[in-house]
């Protein structure tokens, strides 16, 4: 754990299966994330993160490291320009756990280069995505995820 690490936790009134779908189904992510996460979500597969706000644009790419629906998904995370350079890849882990009638979603982003622009970007980005996801699943309304950016 030598590289910078962030953890984000939110409790959502929805079943783990729905949260898994909300992260991995592009139809779903588009509605609260303004982005599509595209993959078959099998370990070893490639995944792509397409920004859909404005002009559709490939924003992140990576590999699926671990996939255990609906409780755990581990992916690598890199701008397309750094795809061939593993040293620049960071790692994102989604842990999904039922707690009573709520589900705890923990997003851990680590193996980030200290001082990198990615470090700055995600420290702003994940809280917005998770708040919007929670609102979308609980009320049917997404937040305007990137307003005020």
């Amino acid at each position: 754990m030598s590289k910078a690490q962030f953890m984000y936790v939110t409790y959502i009134a929805a079943k783990p299966e729905r949260i898994w779908t909300a992260i991995t189904d592009p139809e779903f992510t588009r509605q609260y994330w303004d982005a599509e996460n595209v993959s078959d979500w099998k370990a070893g597969s490639r995944w792509e993160h397409w920004r859909t706000e404005g002009q559709r644009q490939l924003a992140m790419v990576g590999k699926v490291v671990e996939s255990a629906p609906p409780t755990r998904l581990v992916i690598t995370w890199a701008p397309p320009a750094d795809e061939a350079n593993p040293a620049k890849h960071s790692r994102v882990t989604f842990d999904i756990a039922a707690i009573g009638d709520m589900t705890r979603l923990t997003v851990t982003h680590d193996e980030l280069e200290p001082g990198s622009s990615m470090l700055h970007g995600i420290s702003e980005g994940w809280p917005r995505v998770l708040s919007s996801l929670k609102s979308f699943l609980e009320t049917g309304r997404a937040l305007r995820t990137w307003a005020g950016r």
């Binding site: 962030f6 998770l130 307003a147 005020g148």
Partner: protein, 108 residues
């Protein structure tokens, strides 16, 4: 107590805000590391961390026998959406900028 009430209660204490600031500056600190440079007993820090964890403002992970603490900003973001953005964020931003220019830093 409702979840949002726990967040406001946790934020109402200056020592707890100080702990959040430390965890914002440096992630993954142990209780011992958090106690350094703070004029609080270890027991007081542990109690404050308990309140922050209850409010989901701090999350922890075990590494071997060490418990590492991380700031979890998601509830603060929810407050921002519910209580700040709704109330004319742009004009408030302009006022804040003016206050900073006139008074200097307003972190306190």
């Amino acid at each position: 107590m409702k979840r949002i009430d726990r967040v406001f209660k946790a934020l109402a204490d200056p020592s707890r805000r100080q702990l959040l600031d430390r965890l914002h500056a440096q992630r993954g600190l142990t209780l011992g590391e958090l106690c350094e440079h703070l004029e609080m007993t270890r027991q007081a820090v542990a109690q404050h961390l308990g309140v922050l964890e209850e409010a989901n403002l701090v999350t922890t992970v075990w590494r071997g026998r060490e418990k590492l603490h991380y700031l979890n900003p998601v509830p603060i973001h929810e407050i921002y959406h519910r209580w700040i953005r709704k109330f004319e964020h742009k004009r408030l931003g302009a006022l804040r900028d003016l206050k900073i220019r006139l008074e200097g830093d307003i972190d306190e």
